[in-house]
Assembly symmetry: C2
Homo-oligomer: 144 residues x 2
DNA sequence: CTCTTTTCCTATCACTTTGCTAGGCTTTAT
DNA sequence: ATAAAGCCTAGCAAAGTGATAGGAAAAGAG
């Protein structure tokens, strides 16, 4: 029942892009250094985000990445589902349609639906902009 | 972000024991047949439940298992945490104390805490007795 | 046009977890 | 004594995790 590093790193990566949005593209090397994550591994993760159109890339010298939209437009759920796959606690609830044969008589399914809803309620409500705001609060505390 | 078969089977196993509580011990072979799960695998899972005192075993012929307490006394969270380990979405929140170095400045931690709370709110509230009740509702629907 | 800096792409790999299967040992009712 | 149950440990194939490695392609600077 864990979010893997892939999802967690993707979130920190996107947050890093949001926080370092100076107009100039951000290099993967710099993100990796700030976040203390292997740059080669980050490269693979950002590739997924790039293909999904979540970030824009600029190649060549002075190249790098920036967010494709405003931070408000990304929910945590979007980022995690893209990198982690479905967040449902059981495979039956992964897709649109439940193909499990036992679904009509399965009591635990009701429980898993409750859990799925509880998880989605959190990740689909919190946006990247919220994380940015929280970050500034933390930084403020540290200055005082 | 999935509950493994271990936790799911443990839950169905406990529910099976609750539903088949006739006073006589329930054999693992019968649970396995009803639930369509390998009996050898169930054996390993029930061993965990037995060692934790969640079920009582009777050895020898006419032996088997029964619940150690009333279904109301078991939350889903207890059963899942015993068989799955901590349900926290990130390792930092697994134990009592967070040993992560980044915790003071980590924004995503706040998100993970929200997610952890949302998950716990569900699994610590629903009991085995609730599942039993839901099961009878489903069975009633099928009779009508 | 060349050099360098960056992203892009694919392969590989050690390690761990998952989901079992197998086989024998122990207890106990008949 | 026998057979039916639980108890215990080992093993193992497949998948997932968390990277590392090496080069190809693009593009700006000189």
């Amino acid at each position: 029942m864990k979010i893997s590093t892939k999802g967690r790193y993707a979130l920190r990566l996107m947050l890093d892009l949001a926080l370092n949005n100076t107009g100039e593209p951000v290099r993967i090397k710099d993100i990796a250094a700030r976040q203390e994550i292997s740059d080669k591994y980050l490269e693979q993760i950002i590739s997924t985000l790039n293909k999904a159109g979540y970030v824009k890339s600029i190649r060549g010298p002075q190249g790098g990445y920036h967010l494709a939209r405003e931070p408000e437009k990304y929910t945590v759920g979007m980022i995690l589902r893209l990198t982690e796959g479905p967040l449902a606690p059981v495979p039956c609830l992964d897709g649109e349609v439940n193909t499990c044969e036992r679904q009509d008589t399965c009591v635990t399914l009701r429980l898993w639906r409750m859990l799925d809803t509880a998880i989605s309620d959190v990740v689909d409500k919190v946006t990247l902009a919220d994380l940015v705001e929280w970050q500034t609060q933390i930084s403020d505390n540290y200055v005082i």
